[in-house]
């Protein structure tokens, strides 16, 4: 896809020593993703990523739903930074797009309104007795995978290429709005043509698809989703994207935000149930991967270890296309071999 | 036993006559019997009043034969029509008389007197022969006039004449052959038996001189056959051509004298009127759409023609200003506008539906006087008229209640003209309620369009209906509005709906005469031109309307008057777009003359 201004939006990403702020949602929707993220960085790339059990949710889901006031979230974020400082780290990597958006937003607010920082510092001291140092650099976990994409490419066991025809897989990359649209300079490639996921796909042999509704939001939006009656809004927005990308016959979708990844996957199931329409060439939906899952597949991790069996759009067609072995019988068995139930599948 | 004088050559003639009269009788009988109950009641009472019947007979004679109405409009055209119609009538009458006298018995088959010379070549020619030849010459002169009109209408001062359908052209050619063939037949007959008078005789002598005498009998026989065939052909073509007019006009005149009128919901009387249209084309030139070259095939003659065929399209029915100019010159007096409305109604019935439920929510302010002034929709776009009426009321010390100052319900006439009769009635009913409930005893309006439907369609049980020019004239007459004549000169434009529509010509002129110098334009009163703004025409756009108005304004500017005065808000809007001269409503003129400052 011809791009024009993406090179104007670059940012420096450190090479090592990160404090990992996990995502509260992603551990439920895609538990495997965060686990494999750590394994790839630590085992495959030898990067020091500190996983601290003491850090909490950034409360962004509450803040964006008008439940958590600004002072509270600032104090919680201050605590996260304090934990990071105590753990001896200066760079923070956020697993969730909303967190990343929030950390950037709060740091920018502190920059323009130092008094808010002082207030957060005072609140933290009063509440926990801790003090904090602002992180030197805040990146999103997809930034890191993007940053090491060439090293991952070298270790790749699977290329994003159709082994039979040799044609690069057509991948729809969808970027979380809080990543690039709020602070364009905080994302790789800016808001018009974000390159963070496209970079990975292209380094690993794939090809990204530019469909008309590429920039459109998946519609997740906390308030839209939390109230059941509002869920028609995200569903309709996602459908608009799916309708627009369908003609391009993408092989799979990759996203870097807990909401987008889950809903582009789950809404395909809802649409097929409500309207009887199933996207994707073989009528079984377009598989939706998180970038960690994609990186895991490229590095040869087992699909079930990546937690891909939890997707509502079955991933087998993609795995077969990439000639990745998997054991169908173990699909829904936990580590202890017990049946862990399964989601209703799309198009069956 | 009665002698039938049967000869083979009369067969085509007989066939023609039988077909003609049988078709015609069945048509007319079925139409008349299918007339609505009320019309038939009027017919019954009319038939037994000797005065109306004699009056109708006299009118039939005046119009069907002498075409006096055309005479008043166009002398040459009158001669053409009268020579053909009256000439042929006399030819038949005298022929009958000659045959009866010769055979000394009243029972003479019709074909005998038509082909008298053939039957009795040796009968004494004498006076009858002379008269018959003179009448034949008279008819032939009419025929020549008809041919000239067909190809040179300008000789008759007509810019355009009807372009005929194929059927009419065939009937026309058959008619045009009849009299020359009669002339030839009788002249050849005279060549053999010397049975001709001054015309046929001398021509016969010529044939005898030129042609070998042995060939004369054969040519004579052939010519009589041709004569009979041409008559037969013409009679057969009459029911399906414009010439049905010859026979349809007579019952039309009688029914009309019995007060039967066409209705906007077509009845069989509409069919009779349609049949009575001779497609003479007199209605084409007065039509400003034709004069301005806007539409050349939507005039009344073409509408009636299409209606007699498979039915006119709605587009054609819609393309007419309904200004009444053609109706005012139609020699047959056909109610053209009413028929066109009924056509529009019929074409629109299937698709037009209106929902005026909201009308019940419309109320008018409390009445402040027994005299209500209704400015109408157009009136609300010409506020100067209402303002002038307010000033005049103050000056003459009368109270006027301005009914629809803010908003109002349309009087319904535009819908009626478009053929949406039920919708128009819905509006009429609601307005009636509002007017009657308000307790006014006089309803004045500055809009002739509204006044016309108030008078023709509304049931306002006793409320006096006045155009504001009439109201002002009354005030002047009663001395309540004192005014001295100013120096300004006014060229008065008669709005179609006020003039031709309601016959109100004089009151505006009296008013203007009192306040200044009245200038009459070339074409005024019932000849007045339409301003082009008519709501009846649904197809014109602004450019076309301005083209029409430009022609009208030129005539008014020619008078050099200071002001062009009209008494219709629509005319004021249309004319003012197409002239530099100031166009004002009659109320404004009065207010200026009376010099009353705003209330």
């Amino acid at each position: 896809m011809k791009r024009y201004t993406w090179d104007r939006y670059q940012k420096t990403i450190p090479d090592d020593r990160f404090y990992y702020a996990r995502s509260c949602i992603r551990q439920n929707f895609f538990p495997g993703s965060e686990a494999v993220f750590l394994r790839i960085l630590r085992d495959d790339l030898g990067v020091d990523v500190f996983d601290d059990a003491k850090h909490t949710s950034c409360t962004g889901i509450g803040y964006h739903s008008d439940i958590v006031p600004l002072e509270t979230i600032m104090t919680v974020v201050a605590r996260q930074f304090a934990l990071m400082t105590e753990a001896g780290y200066e760079n923070m990597v956020s697993s969730c797009i909303t967190s990343f958006g929030l950390y950037t937003e709060i740091l920018t607010m502190w920059e323009h309104h130092p008094e808010l920082e002082e207030q957060a510092r005072a609140n933290l001291k009063a509440a926990t007795g801790r003090d904090f140092v602002k992180p030197k650099c805040v990146v999103h976990s997809s930034d890191l995978i993007f940053h090491f994409r060439e090293r991952i490419a070298e270790k790749a066991k699977v290329r994003l290429v159709d082994p039979v025809s040799g044609r690069p897989l057509k991948v729809v990359d969808h970027i979380g709005c809080h990543y690039a649209k709020i602070f364009p300079t905080a994302g790789i490639g800016g808001s018009e043509f974000p390159y963070v996921l496209a970079g990975m796909v292209e380094s690993w042999g794939g090809e990204t698809v530019d469909y008309p509704e590429r920039r459109h939001c998946c519609g997740f939006g906390f308030r839209n989703y939390l109230v059941q009656a509002n869920r028609g809004v995200p569903l309709s927005n996602s459908r608009q994207k799916l309708e627009s990308m369908a003609p391009y016959k993408p092989d799979f979708i990759v996203a870097n935000c807990p909401g987008c990844t889950m809903f582009l996957d789950k809404w395909q199931y809802a649409i097929s149930e409500i309207e009887g329409v199933t996207y994707g060439p073989d009528g079984r939906g377009i598989p939706v991967l998180s970038y960690e899952e994609m990186a895991g597949l490229v590095l040869g991790y087992g699909p079930w270890d990546l937690g891909m069996q939890m997707h509502q759009v079955s991933v087998e067609p993609l795995l077969n296309k990439l000639e990745i072995e998997y054991d169908e019988s173990h699909k829904f068995l936990g580590n202890n071999g017990k049946y862990i139930s399964h989601p209703a599948h799309c198009g069956l | 036993m009665v002698n039938l004088y049967f000869e083979p050559f009369i067969i085509p003639f007989i066939v023609g006559v039988v077909v003609l009269f049988s078709v015609m009788w069945t048509k007319f009988i079925s139409w008349i019997s299918a007339l609505p109950q009320s019309d038939r009641r009027m017919m019954r009472s009319g038939i037994f009043s000797v005065a109306t019947v004699v009056g109708a007979l006299w009118e039939a004679f005046r119009e069907c034969l002498l075409h006096l109405k055309i005479g008043r409009v166009n002398g040459r055209l009158w001669y053409m029509h009268t020579s053909l119609a009256f000439g042929w009538f006399l030819l038949i009458a005298f022929g009958k008389a000659e045959a009866i006298l010769y055979l000394k018995t009243p029972v003479v088959p019709i074909y005998v007197d038509v082909f008298f010379r053939k039957y009795f070549p040796f009968a004494h020619v004498g006076a009858f022969g002379f008269i018959m030849d003179a009448l034949l010459l008279f008819v032939l002169s009419g025929l020549v006039a008809a041919v000239v009109k067909r190809f040179r209408p300008s000789v008759y001062g007509m810019r355009r004449t009807t372009d005929h359908t194929l059927g009419d052209k065939l009937a026309l050619s058959a008619l045009w052959c009849i009299f020359p063939l009669r002339l030839l037949a009788e002249s050849f007959n005279s060549a053999i038996y010397d049975s001709g008078s001054f015309l046929t005789g001398s021509l016969g002598a010529l044939w005898a001189l030129l042609l070998p005498s042995r060939s004369l009998p054969y040519i004579n026989e052939v010519l009589w056959w041709c004569y009979s065939v041409s008559l037969g052909l013409f009679f057969v073509s009459v029911p399906i051509s414009r010439y049905l007019h010859i026979f349809a006009e007579i019952p039309l005149i009688f029914l009309r004298s019995f007060k039967v009128r066409a209705s906007v919901r077509a009845t069989t009387f509409t069919k009779l009127q349609r049949a009575a249209c001779s497609r003479c084309g007199i209605c084409i030139d007065p039509c400003q759409l034709s004069a301005e070259g806007i539409s050349l095939d939507t005039q009344s003659v073409y509408l009636l023609r299409d209606e007699r065929a498979k039915g006119a399209t709605l587009a054609k029915a819609d393309s007419c200003l309904m200004c009444g100019r053609c109706q005012s010159v139609c020699p047959v007096g056909i109610e053209l506008d009413v028929i066109r409305t009924s056509v529009r109604h019929d074409r629109r019935k299937a698709t037009s539906s209106f929902d005026y439920g909201y009308l019940d929510t419309v109320h008018v302010p409390l009445a402040t006087s027994k005299v209500g002034f209704f400015s109408g929709c157009m009136g609300r776009l010409t506020p100067s008229v209402a303002a002038s009426m307010r000033a005049i009321a103050i000056r003459s010390g009368v109270d006027i209640w301005f009914i629809d100052e803010a908003e109002g319900i349309c009087c319904g006439r535009p819908q009626r003209m478009a053929g949406n009769l039920d919708a128009a009635d819905r509006m009429r009913e609601r307005n009636e309620e509002l007017f009657v409930e308000s307790g006014i005893d006089t309803l004045v309006t500055s809009c002739p369009i509204c006044l016309r439907t108030f008078r023709e369609d509304y049931h306002l049980n006793g409320i006096r209906l006045l155009h504001h020019s009439q109201f002002i004239a009354e005030l002047m007459e009663q001395g309540r509005l004192d005014v001295e004549r100013g120096a300004a000169s006014f060229a008065y434009h008669d709005p179609c709906e006020l003039g031709r529509g309601l016959g109100i010509y004089d009151e505006p002129r009296v008013v203007l005469g009192n306040i200044g110098r009245l200038e009459e334009v070339a074409r005024s009163r019932d000849k007045a031109l339409c301003c082009g703004g008519s709501l009846a025409h649904l197809g014109l756009d602004m450019a076309q309307r301005d083209r029409i108005a430009a022609g009208v304004c030129a005539e008014f500017e020619a008078t050099g008057a200071d002001f062009i005065v009209t008494s219709c808000p629509m005319c004021k809007k249309s004319l003012s777009r197409s002239t530099e001269t100031r166009v004002i409503d009659i109320a404004e003129a009065v207010k200026m003359a009376v010099g009353v400052e705003e209330a």
């Binding site: 011809k2 024009y4 201004t5 018009e192 530019d210 469909y211 008309p212 509704e213 920039r215 | -």
Partner: protein
């Protein structure tokens, strides 16, 4: 006493007209043009509104007048600096040469807004998104075709691209893009009667005489569709058409439309040299970067430096006629001034 000299910077219609007018005023003009030919932007235009006159018919008479009257012209002359005082001006070019005169008229014209800066319109990204200048050059070459050489069956024309747009950093109205949009819409329909043309506008600013009539003709005769609504973004579709998104503000509803080609009516911007000259010479520019006359009336072509005059689109977006009139005004003022010098 030697004839007074005036240097005219910029060889567009304004510069050429100023030079010719100066000659008539009995002053020795000298024309410096950055490009290899005279004529400025008009060399790239096909036909001019509202009359449809060929651009060449305006440029060539001026070029001939300049050569006939022997006005000294320096082509490929990029001005590096202008120095001097109220009675002398020295214009130094980038190639090191420099010229002296008593006064100077700056007629450096305008720059076209770089449509790629409005990234969301996809200029330079989607093949069938072109600017009004590209379209004008297509009309000149006679090949008005899509990227793949095919005939466009539907075209969207976007008004106000790089004009009246804080996002693009240009808040001013470039005045002539509206009428250009109407002209090009008509030219497209003349070339391809079957093609559907949609103009998306915020306001139709038909300021000049004959413009409103052209607008009416576009509606009535050529059935150009005018949709009131500012396009937010264009996206490429699979068959390299362009999906256009707008709101039809008169219907109060969002609107989607896929067209074969999108034309961006790019606005006029002040050339960078305006700011440079302004600072060097101490003359002022208005907020939109165009030279500001001493006042908007009689002094429209005067500046705070008594021997520096400005004319043409350098003082603000205008049509060709207005530029040439302003050039004559500047020439007369300059001639008056230099003749008054000792």
């Amino acid at each position: 006493m030697a004839a007074k000299r005036v240097i005219v910077i910029g060889g567009g219609v304004a510069g050429m007209q100023a030079a010719v007018a100066l000659k008539k005023q009995g002053v020795t003009p000298m024309l410096i043009e950055r490009d290899i030919t005279l004529g400025g932007k008009l060399c790239r235009w096909d036909r001019l509104f509202p009359s449809g006159t060929r651009a060449g018919e305006v440029v060539s008479p001026l070029v001939e007048a300049i050569s006939e009257t022997g006005i000294r012209t320096v082509l490929c002359g990029e001005v590096s600096e202008i120095v001097g005082d109220d009675s002398r001006v020295e214009v130094m070019l980038t190639d090191g040469s420099s010229y002296e005169a008593e006064a100077a008229i700056i007629a450096t014209g305008f720059d076209l807004f770089d449509a790629s800066l409005k990234e969301e319109y996809g200029y330079g990204i989607y093949p069938n998104v072109v600017t009004s200048v590209d379209l004008e050059e297509m009309f000149r070459s006679g090949a008005v075709v899509r990227a793949d050489g095919s005939e466009p069956r539907s075209v969207a024309i976007l008004h106000c691209v790089g004009s009246r747009d804080r996002q693009a950093g240009c808040g001013h109205c470039s005045r002539v893009c509206c009428i250009t949009g109407v002209k090009q819409a008509i030219e497209l329909k003349q070339l391809y009667p079957g093609c559907n043309v949609y103009n998306f506008y915020m306001d139709m600013r038909m300021f000049g005489s004959g413009y409103e009539e052209l607008y009416k003709e576009a509606q009535e005769r050529y059935r150009v569709n005018f949709i009131r609504g500012r396009i937010s973004e264009c996206s490429g579709t699979m068959d390299s058409r362009v999906l256009v998104k707008a709101e039809d503000t008169l219907a109060g509803r969002p609107l989607r439309l896929t067209v074969d080609m999108t034309v961006l009516l790019v606005g006029k911007q002040a050339p960078a040299s305006n700011a440079k000259f302004a600072s060097e010479l101490g003359i002022c520019v208005s907020s939109d970067g165009f030279f500001k006359g001493a006042d908007c009336f009689d002094g429209a072509t005067l500046t705070s430096r008594r021997n520096i005059f400005v004319a043409g689109t350098a003082t603000g977006p205008k049509n060709v006629g207005e530029s040439m009139n302003e050039a004559v005004a500047a020439a007369i003022k300059a001639a008056e001034y230099v003749k008054g010098l000792a």
